[in-house]
């Protein structure tokens, strides 16, 4: 094999691997397109039971209830419509987890229709608003920004 041919073969192998990686990425990312759900989307087309997804919305007023063990919290997440998804979370609540504020719950839907959250992302620092929540109605978004963003004028 001449040096020139070898270089060509190397280039082709490298291209194949990288295009392969790209195709693999594209394929798995298409499945990930359903990774983030608003409450109304989750009510209309629920993800498979046990599939890892994120649910984002507002914590419904008056819905936060702590169970007797002191660490399991149940609450409802709402979005732009009347749909509300019940969420159960066992863990330490983020400091800014309060009623009527934005939240992104990571976890999966249980067989009983309750979303089991393994992690809650509330406002993380004074500049952070979960980007996914920007899709909410302007009024809600403005309200959420005002309530979940401290220190911004």
């Amino acid at each position: 094999m001449k040096a020139k041919h070898q270089r060509l073969v190397l280039v082709i192998i490298a291209l194949l691997a990288i295009v392969g990686a790209g195709l693999l990425a594209a394929w798995s990312l298409r499945n990930q397109a359903n990774y983030f759900y608003l409450p109304e989307q989750m009510a209309a087309t629920p993800p498979d039971v046990g599939q890892a997804v994120r649910l984002g919305g507002m914590v419904q007023k008056g819905s936060i209830k702590t169970e007797a063990d002191g660490v399991t919290v149940n609450f409802m997440v709402t979005g732009n419509t009347a749909d509300a998804i019940p969420v159960r979370y066992s863990g330490i609540l983020p400091d800014l987890f309060v009623e009527n504020s934005g939240v992104v719950a990571e976890g999966s839907l249980g067989p009983d229709g309750v979303f089991i959250a393994t992690n809650l992302l509330a406002k993380h620092d004074e500049n952070y608003v979960p980007k996914e929540l920007e899709g909410m109605g302007t009024q809600d978004a403005a309200k959420m920004a005002a309530e979940t963003t401290v220190g911004l004028n």
Binding site: Q32, D69, D95
Partner: protein, 662 residues
């Protein structure tokens, strides 16, 4: 006055960058063996520019140290009550300051290159400095036109607004400067690659000039990522060490490219193969640094660690990005064909294994890049997605697993061409370790696939890392080889830590009344009391946890939930009990209505090995640099001695004739 001097220094430095660029470009017009008279200004311009940019950064440090509230940046990001250390680290805990640090490191590395690098042909050196000046100029323009760190307030502020408390941590003192030095160190590799491409001087002696820069940048990136991972682990209070967060990915992508580059530049230096591929990686690695800066600084991605974001600046960085990356790849496409062919090698050879590792690293880079940018792409079509571990973990593992396998074998192969049959024993040993460990661990229970594979590969790699030393006189093994052995062993150590954390972590979450005890693994954790405490700029509630292992003497842990008042926010300060075989990680949460406190405790076996491995990898890189420098110094003194002897002999006229023995 200080702010004005700093600003003036930056403008002057920008002007010198123009001079460096133009003068360096004249080097390309130099005839063989001569230097164009207009090309001699490039080196001094680079050195003085480095001095000015570093001066500007020191002046900003001073403004933060004395909390000069007439400067907008200080007022917006600092507070007179803050501890001095965090006043200083606050200098780069914001957009403008971190960009000034970036430019300072860029100019300093260009200055070092200009001052100390004498081996490159003058034409290549000139072209390299011209490219370095061009890159610096773009970032000076960015600072001066859109992110002036020295901007004054019309009326000095009465008090500063403080610094994000998450950033008030020793981790921030170390992590960003290290990472930036690595990012920007790659700029030198980029400029060298472009310089060599422009003059077509791509050869082993060029690779030997490039190698220490690549190694140095790579070591700093490795240490920066390791420090960042540990910082996120103990400071965020979530007990995780890698979140596939866009900001983390922004540092991982240049690291992947730099890792590939470091290996290919070694092939070029040792064997004169992979010429164009090395140049391409040099361009790619710095492109990833700039892309990372864009992602972090432009505000296009929200992230748990993105701070001080401003969408309007995004356009500027995106423009710079397009100019540099687009320009570099255009020149690459036009010139790559003119780079002379390197040497050939067989598939089964050291070079072949390194090419495989390069291709796998590039594929992982593609996976991470696409996953990081995908939310941006879909957002253009008004679809919001988040891409998380369910994508990144399996997709990158598909390429990482074969890469680790070849990584175990590669260093055992001979250069140019080898017969795999020669390595029967080694290959059998590696396969036996992978399969044996996976089988043995599976015997004890059900564990997820990736941690299992990680354990098997870690065991094989840990042993294989030392195989290159087998049958050699250890005193005569080159220092650089020790570096490789140590770095590869470090990868095994990290992998072992990650796999153990993934497979064997135990977690206990409970609401506990004072005096109550929770059991986790062999540990009994008693909540003795919860008390309020106060720091310089925060108040907190602090739990006193008595941790007793197997009924032994209790150790006290003090996790805190802190509240800062400027800016108003809360952070969770985890408490860690570090044992040789793992860490107990404790966090305190809220108080329930009935008076019980939420506590969360993890037992993470061998989790510290993740970062010990990172340190070993960095140390291996340092040894490799030390080894190369030693060899270079020896070679130089040997050439000098040879020249001296020839001169002596010439001075004597005729060589002294040995006296014939009787």
């Amino acid at each position: 006055m200080i702010a004005e001097i700093g600003l003036a220094a930056l403008w002057l430095a920008a002007a010198l960058a123009v001079l460096q660029m133009v003068s360096g470009a004249f080097a390309l017009k130099s005839a063989e063996g001569e230097v164009n008279p207009l090309a001699i200004y490039a080196r001094p311009a680079a050195v003085v520019q480095a001095f000015l940019a570093v001066l500007a950064f020191i002046l900003l440090l001073r403004a933060f140290a004395i909390t000069d509230l007439s400067i907008k940046l200080v007022a917006a990001n600092s507070h007179s009550m803050k501890p001095l250390l965090y006043k200083l680290t606050g200098t780069w805990g914001n957009h403008e300051g971190s960009m000034l640090l970036w430019v300072g490191v860029l100019a300093a590395s260009g200055g070092l290159l200009a001052a100390f690098e004498k081996r490159l042909p003058e034409r290549t050196m000139g072209a390299t400095l011209a490219v370095q000046g061009f890159v610096a100029l773009g970032f000076y323009a960015f600072l001066l036109l859109s992110s002036n760190p020295f901007e004054r307030l019309p009326v000095p502020a009465a008090e500063g607004t403080g610094l994000n408390p998450l950033l008030q941590d020793i981790g921030l003192a170390i992590h960003p400067p290290t990472l930036y030095a690595g990012y920007v160190g790659l700029s030198v590799a980029f400029s060298l690659a472009m310089g060599a491409l422009l003059t077509r001087e791509v050869n082993p002696s060029f690779a030997r000039v490039m190698r220490p820069w690549v190694l140095g940048a790579w070591v700093l990136l490795t240490l920066g990522i390791t420090a960042g991972s540990y910082w996120a682990y103990y400071e965020l209070g979530w007990g995780g060490w890698w979140f596939w967060d866009p900001v983390e990915n922004a540092s991982l992508m240049p690291w992947l490219a730099a890792t590939a580059l470091m290996h290919s530049v070694s092939v070029l230096a040792a064997r004169d193969a992979l010429r164009t591929w090395t140049i391409m990686l040099g361009v790619l690695a710095f492109s990833m640094s700039m892309l990372g800066t864009f992602l972090v600084r432009s505000g296009v991605l929200t992230s748990v660690h993105a701070f001080a974001v401003d969408p309007e600046r995004g356009a500027f960085i995106l423009g710079l990005l397009g100019l540099y990356i687009g320009g570099a790849f255009t020149i690459f496409a036009l010139r790559a064909g003119a780079v002379a062919e390197g040497k050939r090698f067989a598939v089964a050879s050291r070079e072949g294994a390194l090419v495989f590792n390069n291709v796998m690293l590039s594929a992982i880079l593609a996976i991470v890049l696409l996953g990081t940018l995908y939310p941006l792409l879909t957002e253009a079509f008004n679809v919001r997605v988040s891409v998380g571990p369910p994508y990144f973990n399996p997709a990158s593992a598909i390429f990482a697993v074969p890469m680790f396998l070849v990584m175990a074998v590669g260093p055992l192969l001979r250069w140019k061409s080898d017969k795999p049959a020669r390595l029967q024993f080694e290959l059998a040993l590696i396969a036996a370790l992978v399969i044996g460990v996976i089988a043995a661990v599976s015997f004890f229970g059900q564990f997820p696939l990736l941690p299992l594979l990680g354990l098997g590969l870690a065991a094989a790699l840990a042993v294989a890392a030392f195989l290159p030393l087998r049958g050699r006189n250890l005193k005569r093994v080159p220092v650089a080889t020790w570096g490789m052995v140590l770095a590869h062993f470090g990868v095994a150590v990290s992998l072992f830590g990650m796999a153990c954390e993934g497979a064997f972590s135990q977690e206990r979450l409970a609401a506990v009344a004072p005096g109550g005890t929770e059991q986790i693994g062999d540990f009994a954790v008693t909540l003795e009391r919860v008390t309020p405490v106060a720091g310089p700029n925060w108040t907190a509630i602090e739990a006193r946890l008595a941790v007793s292992e197997d009924g032994g003497e209790p150790v006290i842990l003090n996790p805190q939930a802190r509240s800062f008042w400027s800016p108003p926010m809360s952070t969770s300060e985890s408490a860690l009990l570090t044992k040789w075989d793992g860490q107990l990680y404790a966090v305190i949460g809220n108080q329930a209505e009935d008076g019980r406190w939420q506590i969360r405790i993890w037992w993470k076996p061998f989790v510290t090995f993740i970062w010990y491995g990172g340190l070993l990898i960095g140390l291996g890189g340092l040894l490799a640099i030390a080894g190369r420098v030693r060899v270079d110094v020896k070679r130089r003194s040997a050439t000098a001695k040879g020249a001296q002897r020839r001169a002596d002999i010439e001075a004597l006229g005729t060589p002294p004739t040995p006296i014939p023995a009787e």
